[in-house]
């Protein structure tokens, strides 16, 4: 039965590119190389399997016990034969190794200009952070563009696995594991967690959406536009939560690394230079884009710039949010 299956599968191997009986659809640049090796090894395996089982069945039939026919004396060893069936498999094994290693180098070596996406794995979901700071639960990528993933885990070991791309890499807490791929066909692909991580392991799934040329940029701009789905204040709060403001600025008046946002907007602040200014729209905008320009007295100048990481629209939303924290009127003018 398995023999027949082997043969059938071999026949199917002849048509790569389409989802075969054995390998999923090829949708990345490395997939054909991997599949080529897969089918090559399959061919070698099938040959040896048929050889071994064929000989075995032949002997079993040919030399089955018959009344009065004793076993014949044959040589009990033959060094030449031993060497032959040691050297031939060894040679083939080394060839397979060499192909496998070469393919592996391609799988792990991204081109220099790859588009970078940050991947965060946690029980039991994926987060993909794009260069503009937008976070999504699915991975969107442009077609025919190398994408490099910098991955980290919040808790236990997970594994990033997209069968159609033939890419898999564990995501290990305490380190940045990297992976890359270049999708070749637009469409939607399944992403799995492949390292056992507990209750929700089998539901820790996501989609990889490969966009047509130009489609990705449009999607990203659209998806990052928070105002399509929420009010500016809510958008500002969302940005405060996900973009790291929260780590240093409280909203309940308590002191952290930076000054609290509670009751700040529209009030006087004393700067480290001794100067006193009013925290208005311009001050907030400048503090986001050039944080070291005006540092509030008593705090270290440690805030990183968000130049290029927050859009104008985002900053405006944050300003609206800060206003709401100071009980200022909601009708602040848009610039």
């Amino acid at each position: 039965m398995a023999t027949l299956l082997h043969c059938a599968l071999l026949a199917l191997a002849a048509a790569p590119g389409t989802p075969g009986l054995l390998m999923p659809k090829e949708a990345s640049t490395v997939a054909p190389e991997v599949d080529h090796l897969f089918y090559m090894v399959l061919g070698i395996s099938a040959f040896f399997f048929l050889l071994v089982v064929g000989i075995m069945i032949y002997f079993v039939v040919r030399y089955r016990y018959r009344e009065g026919v004793p076993a014949q004396k044959t040589a009990t060893h033959n060094t030449a034969l031993e060497v032959t069936w040691t050297v031939i498999p060894l040679t083939l094994a080394l060839i397979i190794f060499a192909y496998g290693f070469k393919g592996f180098i391609d799988i792990v070596t991204p081109p220099a200009n790859a588009y970078e996406v940050l991947v965060t794995a946690q029980k039991w979901s994926w987060q993909f952070t794009y260069p503009n700071g937008y976070v999504d639960k699915d991975l969107h990528v442009p077609v025919n563009t190398p994408v490099r993933l910098v991955m980290q885990s919040q808790d236990v070991i997970h594994s990033f696995y997209v069968p159609a791309f033939r890419v898999k890499r564990d995501v290990v807490p305490g380190r940045y594991n990297k992976a890359w791929f270049q999708a070749t066909t637009p469409g939607e692909y399944q992403l799995f967690c492949a390292e056992y991580c507990g209750t929700g392991h089998s539901t820790m799934l996501a989609k990889v959406i490969v966009h047509r040329p130009g489609g990705f940029e449009k999607w990203l701009a659209d998806a990052s536009n928070l105002l399509k789905t929420m009010s500016p204040v809510d958008a500002g709060h969302h940005l405060y939560e996900v973009r790291g403001c929260k780590q240093c600025h409280s909203i309940d008046g308590s002191g952290k690394t930076g000054p609290t946002f509670k009751g700040m907007f529209g009030h006087k602040v004393v700067l480290s230079t001794g100067q006193t200014i009013t925290a208005d729209e311009d001050y907030v905008r400048q503090s986001i884009l050039d944080p070291q320009a005006k540092v509030v007295a008593g705090f270290e100048p440690v805030m990183p710039t968000f130049q290029g990481r927050l859009s104008d629209q985002d900053i405006t939303s944050i300003i609206q949010y800060l206003k709401s924290l100071s009980g200022s009127s909601q009708g602040g003018k848009e610039k």
């Binding site: 790291g244 780590q247 990183p304």
Partner: protein, 272 residues
């Protein structure tokens, strides 16, 4: 050979088990078994040496910094104690082989006394670490005030604690472990390149220190128990007259415990 074959009860030697032909075959079997057991012990400890090597090779700063908190004098003393116990054990084997039971009893007792002394010194060291909060992994909480009295000599006044505020924490990278600010380094010796503040993840050193010395300590305790068992048998008049296999084999075990310490001592106490 075949003369004694065919059943138990024919042997005159009470120490010869029924399935052996000769006493020599039996002694050889026991000894080979012991050597293979020592091989398993080596591989058992190899896990710890491996963990040590992996962290040591990649984070030497942790080891160099932590070394100052180990007492080289006590470590050296313990090495000497174990070497003495090895001598008495080897001598005990000789006594057993020669059938000198009184001497054997004395030497076994001496070995046990040395072993207990070793554990005593170890206990003093552990106690000091405990007092200073220099413990393994998540229990690593060094105290500033305790550090001042740490070590054989009083340390100079602790430098002021590092700036009270936690460092900025805005990035995705979680901040490192905060070192035991304020612990004084050992003032002696010509080695001066120990940094003022602790490197990150010093707790790993103390994990390795405690697990290595702890597991070795358990082996010492096991050694005391089996030597005690030997002593009981000696007092019962068992060894001598060409029968010393148990003493021989326990001796092998004891010497291996000694050898492991011989490597632990420089790796933990004298690292540079």
């Amino acid at each position: 050979m075949s003369a004694t074959h065919g059943g138990a009860g024919e042997h005159h030697d009470p120490h010869l088990a029924h399935h052996f032909e000769t006493g020599e075959q039996q002694a050889d079997s026991a000894k080979l078994g012991m050597w293979i057991f020592l091989a398993t012990e080596l591989l058992f400890f190899s896990g710890l040496f491996c963990a040590y090597a992996a962290y040591r090779a990649n984070h030497p700063e942790i080891f160099i910094w932590s070394d100052q908190f180990l007492d080289k004098t006590l470590g050296g003393l313990n090495t000497a104690i174990l070497i003495c116990s090895s001598l008495t054990m080897a001598w005990a084997v000789r006594a057993a082989q020669l059938g000198k039971r009184r001497l054997l009893a004395v030497l076994l007792t001496a070995t046990m006394v040395f072993a207990v002394a070793f554990l005593g010194v170890k206990g003093i060291e552990y106690n000091t670490k405990w007092k200073h909060g220099l413990l393994w992994g998540k229990y690593y909480h060094p105290h500033v005030e305790a550090a001042a009295e740490h070590g054989a000599e009083p340390a100079p006044a602790a430098p002021p604690a590092a700036s009270g505020k936690a460092p900025a924490d805005s990035s995705e990278i979680p901040p490192s472990a905060v070192g035991p600010a304020g612990l004084a380094k050992h003032p002696r010796g010509p080695i001066s390149d120990i940094p003022e503040t602790a490197p990150k993840n010093v707790q790993i050193f103390f994990s390795i220190y405690f697990i290595m010395t702890g597991l070795h300590g358990i082996h010492v305790i096991a050694g005391i128990i089996v030597i005690g068992w030997l002593l009981r048998r000696t007092l019962g008049g068992e060894f001598g007259d060409g029968y010393a296999t148990p003493v021989d084999n326990v001796g092998l075990y004891w010497h291996l415990v000694d050898i492991i310490w011989i490597f632990l001592f420089p790796l933990l106490y004298l690292i540079r």
